[in-house]
């Protein structure tokens, strides 16, 4: 079996990556619920629905990317040593972990941005009636 090391690599890589993605997106959107409730000013049904949609998108993007970078290509006459396997796996898993971290920070940035925007529009709404009353007086 000349390719057995590569298959072992896949068998190590896939569970780690999928469990990591599921855990991160579970945590992200468990905490993101509070941001969503803030953004939609306590309208719970629409906040939870948006949260769920974001979560599905997060799953799709990340698992898709994980599968896309799965392929291990190794061209050499000698069989792959376990050291090479560890190094290739570390490159893939480490790279995916950094990628996931960056995705998480991007999502966090969107949450903050949405929260700020909704606060700004809230201020505008509360200010306008005050000016109207003054004009009438």
């Amino acid at each position: 079996m000349e390719n057995s090391k590569i298959i072992i690599g896949y068998l190590v890589y896939l569970p780690i990556v999928i469990i990591l993605t599921i855990y991160v997106s579970k945590m992200l959107f468990k905490n993101g619920k509070y941001f969503m409730l803030d953004i939609f000013k306590g309208q719970e049904d629409i906040a939870l629905a948006t949260n769920k949609l974001f979560e599905i998108g997060f799953y799709l993007i990340n698992i898709g990317w994980a599968l896309l970078i799965l392929k291990i290509s190794y061209h050499s006459a000698s069989e792959m040593s376990s050291q090479t396997l560890i190094e290739i796996l570390s490159k893939k898993i480490g790279g995916f972990s950094i990628y996931l971290g960056v995705m998480l920070f991007i999502n966090l940035f969107f949450f903050f941005r949405g929260r700020r925007k909704s606060k700004q529009s809230l201020k505008k709404v509360t200010k306008t009636p005050v000016y109207d009353v003054r004009d009438e007086q």
Binding site: L28, Q83, S90, G94, G101
Partner: protein, 117 residues
């Protein structure tokens, strides 16, 4: 079992313990700063802090793991100790620089918040 694999199996637990401990300390002590920044709004501080912790773990452990791929060949015991200390040192110094940077940023934010009032 060659020296490279031995080095990896020493390196990974050490770096994991250091990173998890440091991250946990940032998590518990940074919460007080965040509480200051968000006017003790508990519902929003906890999620922010959790997400920052997870992001910290992902990026840092990812970096620590990815350095394995670019490790030089290790042939004997002294060389193993040398490379081990070198790689651990780089990562710990990097953590320290990031940490001071973070403290400065938080300090700046808290100060600017106070001066606004």
């Amino acid at each position: 079992m060659n020296y490279n694999i031995l080095t990896y199996s020493i390196y990974l637990p050490i770096i994991a313990v250091i990173m998890v401990k440091v991250g946990w300390m940032f998590y518990t002590h940074g919460e007080i700063f965040l509480m200051h920044l968000y006017k003790n709004d508990d519902t929003i501080v906890k999620p922010i802090n959790n997400l920052l912790l997870i992001g910290y773990y992902l990026t840092n452990l990812g970096y620590a793991i990815i350095t394995l791929a670019f490790w030089e060949q290790v042939n004997n015991l002294p060389q193993m100790l040398n490379t081990l200390s070198e790689h651990l040192g780089i990562i710990i110094i990097g953590l320290a620089v990031l940490h001071y940077n973070n403290v400065l940023c938080l300090n700046y934010l808290v100060k600017s918040k106070h001066s606004k009032k």
